[in-house]
């Protein structure tokens, strides 16, 4: 294990050696193992140990960046020198004010030693349990099961210094029959919280229910989106417009909308790394403590998130949403949470005269970031609901739909929520019933 002390030593070496006006160090150590399976058999099985150290040097409003994956003293000093040399050779940035000053960070480690030390044999045994659930029903499973940990530390010459370790366990699996499939996933800080057999049963029942799907004409339908689909959609929306840089550059749907109602009143979305239902560092990649930011408050566009650069531009404080520097994305939320409703999923299904139940989206992509037009396919279980009951599996459909407009039409929200990995970190989201959702095409399976 790359212990925390080694990361702290690396931070100190860089800070002590610096001759820059200001200097920031981001150091990490990571050891991850992943067992991949397909056709009920393990076919890839890997482990990797790596470190990284990234330096941001500031000389007279000029920033230079250098990084390496060597943690020895000589390499760290070389990177500090390199970052300073780069900074000296570039023009000053008048928009740069300062690296962040230190603010109190509630540091915590989320470490399961069992998960850190989980062996290849133990992962194989767990996957064997999953296969044991599905194989007797003539189904095949494919997926990935990963275990390991990351330690991340940030320090700067103004006094910022924060280090945390998080262990990670994640299972993703698709269970397939000849004509139907079901998906399951879970992410946690401990393998003890990954209930392999229960997850396998859920995917199995969906794969069996999804057999022999029928064709359905594309069009606008009421939908019930399961959490995997909701997390995908909300995460793309956050990427498109919840960060200050996208607003400052005028490419966010949130620009000029703060204070306006843009979604259904039963939609509230925030970012909160400290919520016990999610997993995340308590500080961002500049070492600033992560603040809870409510982006959508009962349908009203309420706030956006900042890093130090975008905050200084508006004379505000960073909300603790910086990504590793340098990056072209600006600040983004990595721990999205959506407010629950009061409904059970059964209530939501029963309320539908004719609707489509979507288990999951596939290969979603934004066509227009301001209109939040998203396209993608359904996958691993799409069903027709008629008169309050799930009646038939249907072949996968393509949607082309504005996310903001979809969320303006949310009619019911489930009380239950699940944590799902998405394009931005993880999102803890409910099931949603949306009045009108546009499917523009269909495929052959």
């Amino acid at each position: 294990m790359i212990d925390k002390q080694r990361i702290q030593d690396a931070l100190k070496t860089a800070i002590d050696y610096s001759t820059a006006d200001q200097l920031e160090v981001l150091a990490s150590g990571r050891s991850m193992a992943l067992t991949r399976f397909s056709n009920n058999s393990i076919h890839q099985n890997v482990a990797e140990t790596n470190v990284s150290i990234s330096i941001r040097a500031v000389i007279d409003k000029r920033q230079g960046y250098a990084s390496t994956n060597r943690l020895d003293e000589r390499s760290i000093k070389e990177m500090v020198d390199k970052a300073i040399e780069i900074a000296k050779h570039r023009p000053p940035d008048s928009g740069f004010v300062s690296l962040p000053e230190p603010r109190p960070v509630i540091m915590r480690d989320l470490v399961s030693e069992l998960t850190v030390d989980y062996s290849p044999d133990e992962r194989a045994s767990d996957i064997g349990k999953l296969v044991g659930v599905v194989e007797p029903s003539n189904l095949t499973a494919a997926g990935a099961y990963s275990t390991g940990y990351s330690t991340i530390g940030v320090a700067n010459t103004l006094g910022v210094n924060a280090v945390e370790t998080i262990s990670e366990a994640e299972l993703r699996a698709v269970v397939m029959s000849g004509t139907g499939s079901g998906y399951t996933s879970a992410t946690a800080t401990s393998v003890n919280n990954i209930d392999i057999e229960a997850l396998a049963e859920a995917a199995k029942s969906k794969a069996l229910a999804g057999q022999n799907p029928i064709d359905l004409e594309p069009g606008t339908y009421t939908v019930i989106l399961e959490p995997d689909a909701v997390a995908d959609m909300v995460s793309f929306m956050a990427f498109a417009g919840f960060g200050a840089l996208s607003v400052q550059e005028g490419r966010s749907f949130m620009k000029d909308k703060l204070g306006e109602k843009i979604m259904s009143p039963n939609v509230s979305i925030w970012d909160d790394a400290l919520d016990p239902n999610t997993i995340g560092l308590t500080f961002d990649f500049e070492g600033v403590p992560k603040q809870k930011v409510v982006f959508i408050d009962n349908g009203v566009a309420n706030a956006i998130c900042y890093d130090s650069y975008t905050a200084n531009k508006e004379g505000k404080q960073s909300t603790g949403h910086a990504l590793p520097a340098p990056n072209t994305y600006g600040p983004l939320p990595l721990n999205l949470i959506m407010a629950p409703g009061a409904n059970t999923v059964d209530d939501m299904v029963k309320s539908c005269e004719r609707a489509i139940l979507v288990s999951r989206f596939h290969y979603t992509n934004l066509e227009d970031p301001i209109k939040t037009t998203l396209t993608g396919m359904t996958r691993d279980g799409t069903f027709l609901i008629e008169n309050g009951e799930i009646v038939k599996p249907i072949k996968n459909l393509r949607f082309t739909q504005s996310i903001v407009n979809a969320l303006a039409g949310v009619e019911m929200v489930s009380e239950a929520r699940l944590l799902k990995n998405a394009i931005l970190g993880a999102a803890y989201v409910p099931w949603l019933k949306i009045g009108a959702f546009t499917f523009t095409g269909a495929t052959q399976f």
Partner: protein, 480 residues
């Protein structure tokens, strides 16, 4: 280095490996981004490590580490064997590898001007000269220019006796103009979107792009798009420019012919493929003028190398011949399923990742038409250029692409500019509707440095040759 590679292979063998290979890789890269007149990024990065892959008890194990030292090499080789033995606990059949010649060789990509030897001042001047033109164009909201250069030095050795050293240098650049008016956002990119164009070449490739010369055109087009006509909805004839066709080939041909995907090995991530084994040599993938091949030997193309990450020499072979589906991309493990030997498509994203079946340079070969002739043959259609977004289903059938720009074609003439164009289709129906492909004078290779696959995710650098081509009865203006 031979001391370390031998140590890894010996340790693996001692602990039970029947096959083992090691890759030791040193990477160096540099990025520059100028945005809205401000230097947004100048960064330099190095990365060093090794990965050991073994077969033990008939199953795979892989482990990698950043610490290239003897005790760590020994630990990692033992761990790889331990992992392989765990894989064997849940393996349905033993892995058999197709044979490959034992090779001792060295390969270096063609570099005329070492990009790392060019001064920072010269690079900034080249980018800022182009970015300034975009920025000062009335109506442009966001201007940016970027450059990325990298060099990978790689040693491959295996238990069979191969020892291969490769050094591959890559250079690429991009120029972007974004114009925004209310909720209307329009973008034009040069030479291509999503990071521009990249090649296995030196700084001469970036100089040859003529970024400054093309800056006025893309800036003006971005602004003009704000007042352009909306994309019509319906079924029309479309002509795709080579930059968009490159991604069309990538998603609807390159990925579905990866044999590991066909065999289900990617099922849980991006999915499987409609090009199942029974379709080989029997399935009419496209019209008879459609010819697509894989060629890892194209000079300076981004997917070109001397040997793949199993030590198999770079090769050229047909994938689609006269419209018929004739070949997969394979590896030493998957090729025997077809009774073949590997055609050299195993590539890993650095030292810490396992090689997977990947594209090299997958290209639509030139036809005998020209853009002018193709336009002349269209009564009512669209000419579409430069990708804006992409999406395809998990068997690679239903796709939808949006492009940055389009132009109407009316009665054989290119007409008004259109904005927000997109088109959708089903892969074999689409390729069977191809009735003209421009010739070799309009054919060029496009580098694509963001091809994702696998778990953990790997990013591959690939390329696609394409000339403009015409497709009949394509659904456009989806959801508009």
């Amino acid at each position: 280095m031979k001391e370390l590679t031998s140590l890894a292979l010996d340790v693996a063998k001692t602990f039970g490996a029947t096959y083992a290979d090691i890759r030791i890789i040193e990477e160096q890269s540099e990025s520059i981004v100028i945005k809205n007149g401000r230097v947004d990024e100048i960064s330099a990065s190095t990365n060093y490590g090794f990965g050991v892959r073994v077969l033990a008890n008939g199953a795979w194990g892989f482990a990698g580490s950043f610490l290239v030292e003897k005790p760590e090499v020994e630990r990692v080789a033992r761990l790889a064997v331990e992992i392989a033995k765990a894989s064997a606990l849940l393996a349905k059949q033993s892995v058999e590898l197709s044979p490959v010649p034992v090779v001792q060789d060295r390969y270096t990509s063609d570099v005329q001007i070492d990009p790392f030897a060019v001064s920072l001042e010269d690079k900034l001047a080249l980018l800022s000269g182009a970015e300034e033109i975009v920025r000062k164009t009335q109506g442009v909201t966001i201007s940016s220019a970027s450059m990325h250069i990298s060099r990978e030095k790689k040693i491959f050795a295996n238990l069979e006796g191969s020892y291969i050293e490769q050094e591959i240098t890559e250079s690429g650049a991009a120029l972007d103009a974004v114009a925004i008016q209310g909720s209307d956002i329009q973008e034009r990119s040069y030479p291509n979107s999503h990071g521009g164009d990249v090649a296995s070449a030196g700084y001469e490739f970036i100089q040859g792009m003529l970024l400054k010369e093309n800056a006025p055109r893309i800036a003006e087009e971005a602004v003009q798009l704000l007042s352009a006509k909306p994309c019509p909805s319906g079924e029309l004839t479309i002509i795709l420019n080579g930059d968009q066709l490159a991604l069309q080939v990538h998603e609807s041909c390159g990925h579905p012919v990866e044999l590991d995907r066909v065999l289900g090995m990617e099922a849980s991530f991006a999915g499987t493929s409609f090009l199942t084994l029974d379709k080989l040599n029997t399935f009419q993938y496209g019209s008879p003028i459609v010819n697509i091949n894989s060629d890892a030997t194209i000079p300076r193309a981004l997917g070109t190398f001397g040997y793949d990450d199993e030590g198999v020499p770079a090769q050229r072979f047909d994938i689609i011949k006269n419209g018929m589906f004739t070949g997969y991309l394979t590896s030493r493990e998957t090729a025997p399923v077809l009774g073949q030997n590997s055609n050299g498509c195993m590539r890993a994203d650095g030292w810490g990742r396992l090689p997977l079946v990947r594209m090299t340079n997958v290209s639509l070969l030139p036809g005998d038409s020209s853009l002018e002739q193709m336009i002349d043959g269209v009564k009512d259609g669209l000419f579409l250029s430069t990708n804006r977004s992409w999406s395809i289903d998990d068997k690679r059938l239903n796709f939808q692409f949006a492009t940055q720009i389009g132009w109407e074609i009316k009665n054989g003439k290119l007409g008004a500019m259109i904005k927000n164009p997109n088109y959708t289709g089903i892969t074999p129906e689409f390729w069977n509707s191809c009735d003209a492909i421009a010739g070799k004078d309009e054919w060029r290779v496009w580098g694509l440095a963001n091809c994702g696959k696998g778990e953990p995710m790997q990013v591959a650098h690939v390329a696609h040759g394409a000339a403009p081509a015409r497709f009949r009865n394509v659904k456009v203006g989806v959801g508009r």
